[in-house]
């Protein structure tokens, strides 16, 4: 699966896109795995106003993830 970070999340993690293998089965499992590697990123992913999108659709709460999913973490949007 592919994970994308936008805005300040990318700066914080030091990457903007990476593959996660083996794929995480759920959004919460993915957050947990990212948090184990990088606790600061883990905290930022659950901060107020940070949304997750699975295959370009925003999801609320937890969600099962298809193995080839694209998951994006979206900090508060700024407008252009």
């Amino acid at each position: 699966m592919r994970v994308l970070l936008f805005g300040r999340l990318g700066d914080l993690a030091g990457w903007r896109e990476r593959r996660i293998e083996p794929p995480a089965a759920s959004l919460s499992a993915l957050r947990r795995r990212l948090s184990e590697e990088d606790a600061a990123l883990g905290d930022a992913l659950v901060a107020p106003g940070v949304h997750a999108a699975v295959d370009k659709a925003v999801v609320r709460g937890d969600a099962a993830l298809p193995p080839a999913a694209e998951i994006a973490f979206l900090p508060p949007m700024s407008g252009g």
Binding site: A72, L74, M77, G80
Partner: protein, 153 residues
């Protein structure tokens, strides 16, 4: 109806001329061009992050809603992404309608949406360093002008 996100600079005058071509039933075209403000030399560069396939789709959905709400015949939105220097055009909106009021309101509505609610992430590279910025209170107030008033209970 066209929504374009692009890293390359564009010429707002040429875009407006092209947009006005072959419109025999349009009474008015209103366009807005947003430039990057340099803040007296403090801002060196603006960096706009977008999610291709997500950001453009969200803008297109809002554009369709605006077209229906303001009876727009056509509209064009161009938004730069990536690095944009002060003085360069960062956003362009043009609305065509049978009558001017609809064209003015459509462009005003779309700009308020683009400035406050569109899925972009904006970083300002300044003399003292870089910072991510979020909409100002003014941007939110401007956008809220278009929301339906709450139903009286």
């Amino acid at each position: 109806m066209t929504v374009r996100l692009q890293t390359e600079p564009f010429d707002p005058g040429a875009e407006l001329s092209a947009f006005c071509q072959d419109r025999r039933e349009t009474g008015g075209v209103v366009s807005f061009t947003g430039l990057v403000r340099g803040e007296a030399g403090a801002v060196e560069m603006l960096e706009l992050d977008a999610y291709p396939g997500f950001t453009d789709r969200a803008i297109a959905e809002e554009a369709e809603a605006a077209a229906a709400r303001f009876a727009l015949q056509d509209l064009l939105i161009i938004h730069r992404v990536g690095h944009i220097a002060p003085g360069e055009a960062v956003v362009f909106v043009a609305c065509a309608a049978a009558h001017r009021r609809e064209a003015f309101e459509g462009a005003d509505f779309l700009m308020d949406y683009l400035k406050s609610r569109a899925p972009f992430w904006k970083k300002s590279h300044e003399r003292g360093g870089a910072r991510w910025i979020e909409p100002t209170a003014r941007d939110y107030q401007d956008a809220a002008r278009w929301d339906a008033p709450e139903e009286a209970r």
